[in-house]
């Protein structure tokens, strides 16, 4: 299991567009990926569940990756939050 914390650097937070990109990214991996904000945890395969967390710019969230390809998945997610999210 790999877990990491991220600060959301996109001003609008996790709006539909970045959330769609994230769900699609996670689909490329076999690992189960969860997102935690405060005490709520959702699986990262449901766009609806991500949106319902109302993640805003500046919020801190945790990502938990578990499975055979967890190292690759975690690296891709890392790139998403640290680099790609700003451009979405």
């Amino acid at each position: 299991m790999i877990s990491a914390d991220y600060i959301i650097t996109a001003a609008e937070g996790m709006h539909a567009r970045p959330a769609t990109a994230l769900v699609r990214l996670v689909k490329n991996f076999k690992s189960t990926v969860s997102l935690k904000k405060g005490d709520k945890v959702v699986k990262l395969n449901s766009l609806l569940n991500i949106l319902s967390l109302m993640i805003k710019g500046g919020d801190t969230i945790s990502i938990i990756v578990e499975g055979d390809d967890e190292a690759d998945a975690a690296a891709a997610i890392d790139l998403f939050f640290n680099e790609q999210l700003k451009g979405l």
Binding site: T9, A11, H15, A16, T20, S46, L47, M54, G57, G58
Partner: protein
């Protein structure tokens, strides 16, 4: 009829009322396991077909989609195949024996309810996407194909309860000149699409909109949120004129928005905006602003009954930093006193409040207040390019004191391992004559200057700008004021520090060339004033500005100066 203007402009045209089929429950209950299995299959098939419908739409070469429209459709595919929605629906089919139609309606209604009750306007607006994909699946469950979008005549104004992304994407939008909806707000889909296409729109008109029938003559005023149905000739005539004026103004604005403010001989000038909160940023970028030269922090302190906590302030500054999207934001520390009072902070009555206990003087005296503001700004500085500016500095001693307290704030954050931008730039607002005169001394210890012409003018001329009897003596073109301004700009340049101006003078078209000639490179003003000032800059040269400056500085009265500038600016 009154609604919310969500996309500015005037539209005059014929109404087209968009009818929507109501989703109806069937009440059918499934009787055995086979039917249940079939129903789940039927649901999955309907979803697959709905996804296919969207994919056909995105690959249709006759129908070019904008980037944001494509993004919406991608999101809809994700929602159509959302495992949470499917799990909820399958559970309803299996345990409550409902058919796919009824299970879908109930599950979607539930999600719509959740989203509509969120305390975030954007998320409330997403309920329309959920309803949209639900309609797609329902249509496919009934075996309907995608219905062809109706054809519109020229100058059509769409009247609807709400307009979904699918509507606007499939709609033949080239004849649509306006939208009016019963529901919605500034962040609803209708509003976003209308603004991106420059089509006037009014949302939130309520039930009254139901009285309109297809073919009615409509005037829609998207700037003021008004809708007129079959108006009389007088209103029509007035709006025909308004529409022409708006179109001309918009064309000018658009032409200027993405143009850089560069003089004809190649000098790049920065035009930034004065703001009071993160919400102002949209307009700043809309008008072509390149950052924030003055972020007034007083708004957060007013209209409440106690000082905002450090955390509240942090949120306020952080939002502004985020909304500025990496562009510089000059945060002015608290500027109360003078004519600005806080109900929960008792300032004793003074004979001369403008010469009294105000701004940095209060902050240096009430270190607790100052510390919490500085720490909040520092914490927010990791979210963007924030700079700190101290108001009402009269000399070097005050600047040093303020910087010392900033140093203490940094040490406390370091001790607590809180992230901040250690290299944050610190500047002085030049608005007291002694500071303007000693600009050479201040420049050695400040990272930048910003000239506050309103107070500088009133202090230099000893004119209370609130006193109507002597208002005519308040005169930024007074040779004494101009000499002070020139000194600040020159000293800043000689000491290689950045000099900006954030007072009203920077938005006065009469002053633009003169200030350019003095060497000012950064003008900050209300966002609305930016296009006019930019227009002057791109049509003139530095050579001309310098010549104007030479002539003006040799004149002996503001009457002569203003008359000359009027002529030279033409």
């Amino acid at each position: 009829m009154k609604g919310i203007g969500v996309s500015p402009g005037i539209a005059i045209g014929k109404a087209f009322v968009l009818q929507r089929q109501e989703a109806l429950m069937t009440g059918v209950l499934l009787s055995n396991e086979t039917e249940i299995l079939q129903e789940v299959e039927r649901f999955d098939l309907a979803v697959n077909r709905a996804v296919h419908d969207i994919e056909t739409l995105t690959s249709d070469r006759n129908h070019t989609l904008q980037d944001d429209e494509l993004a919406v459709l991608e999101t809809h595919i994700e929602l159509l195949t959302d495992p949470q929605i499917r799990a909820d629906i399958v559970e309803k089919i299996e345990t409550e024996k409902k058919n796919a139609n009824d299970a879908l309606i109930e599950v979607i209604d539930n999600f719509v309810l959740i989203f509509e009750s969120m305390d975030d306007e954007y998320m409330r607006g997403r309920s329309i996407d959920i309803k949209d994909i639900s309609r797609r699946i329902l249509g496919r469950l009934k075996g309907q194909r995608e219905t062809a979008a109706p054809a519109f005549g020229p100058d059509t104004i769409i009247i609807a309860e709400d307009i979904s992304p699918s509507d606007t994407i499939t709609m033949d939008i080239k004849h649509v000149v306006g939208f009016a909806t019963q529901a919605g707000s500034k962040t609803s889909h209708t509003a976003i699409i209308a603004r991106s296409k420059g089509i006037p729109a009014v949302a939130g008109c309520g039930e009254a909109l139901g009285g309109i029938t297809t073919g009615d003559l409509i005037i829609l005023d998207g700037s003021n949120g008004l809708v007129y149905v079959n108006p009389d000739q007088e209103i029509m005539d007035a709006y025909l004129i308004k529409r022409t004026a708006f179109r001309q103004q918009r064309a000018q604005l658009l032409a200027l928005k993405d143009t850089q403010a560069i003089t004809t001989d190649g000098e790049k000038i920065t035009l930034s905006a004065n703001i009071s909160g993160a919400d102002d940023m949209a307009e700043v970028f809309d008008k072509g602003g390149e950052g924030v030269g003055l972020f007034r922090t007083e708004l957060l302190f007013m209209g409440r009954d106690s000082f905002p906590s450090e955390d509240e302030q942090f949120e306020f500054y952080k939002n502004a930093a985020l909304q500025a999207k990496g562009k510089p934001v000059v945060v002015r520390t608290l500027d109360i006193g003078g004519d600005k009072h806080l109900p929960y902070f008792n300032l004793p009555a003074e004979l001369n409040p403008f010469l009294g206990y105000r701004a940095i003087r209060i902050c240096l005296d009430r270190k607790d207040l100052f510390m919490s503001q500085l720490k909040a700004i520092l914490r927010a500085s990791v979210f963007g390019d924030l700079k700190i500016m101290f108001p009402m500095i009269s000399g070097l001693q005050e600047l040093r004191q303020a910087k010392n307290i900033l140093g203490e704030a940094k040490s406390e954050l370091l001790r607590d391992a809180v992230a901040f931008n250690a290299g944050i730039k610190v500047g002085v607002m030049i608005e007291i004559p002694s500071a303007a005169i000693t600009a050479d001394i201040l420049a050695k210890e400040a990272d930048f200057f910003s000239i506050g012409t309103n107070d500088l003018c009133q202090y230099t001329l000893a004119v209370d700008r609130m006193n109507e009897k002597i208002a005519h003596l308040y005169d930024p073109f007074n040779p004494g004021v101009l000499r002070l301004i020139k000194n600040v700009i020159e000293q800043g340049c000689q000491n290689n520090i950045h000099v900006g101006m954030c007072g009203e003078m920077s938005s006065d078209p009469l002053a633009t060339l003169l200030l350019l000639g003095m060497g000012l490179k950064d003008f900050s003003m209300s966002a609305a004033a930016i296009p006019a000032i930019k227009n002057i800059i791109i049509n003139n040269s530095m050579a001309k500005a310098k010549e104007i400056q030479h002539k003006v500085m040799a004149m002996d009265s503001s009457e002569k100066i203003m008359a000359y500038l009027k002529e030279a600016t033409q």
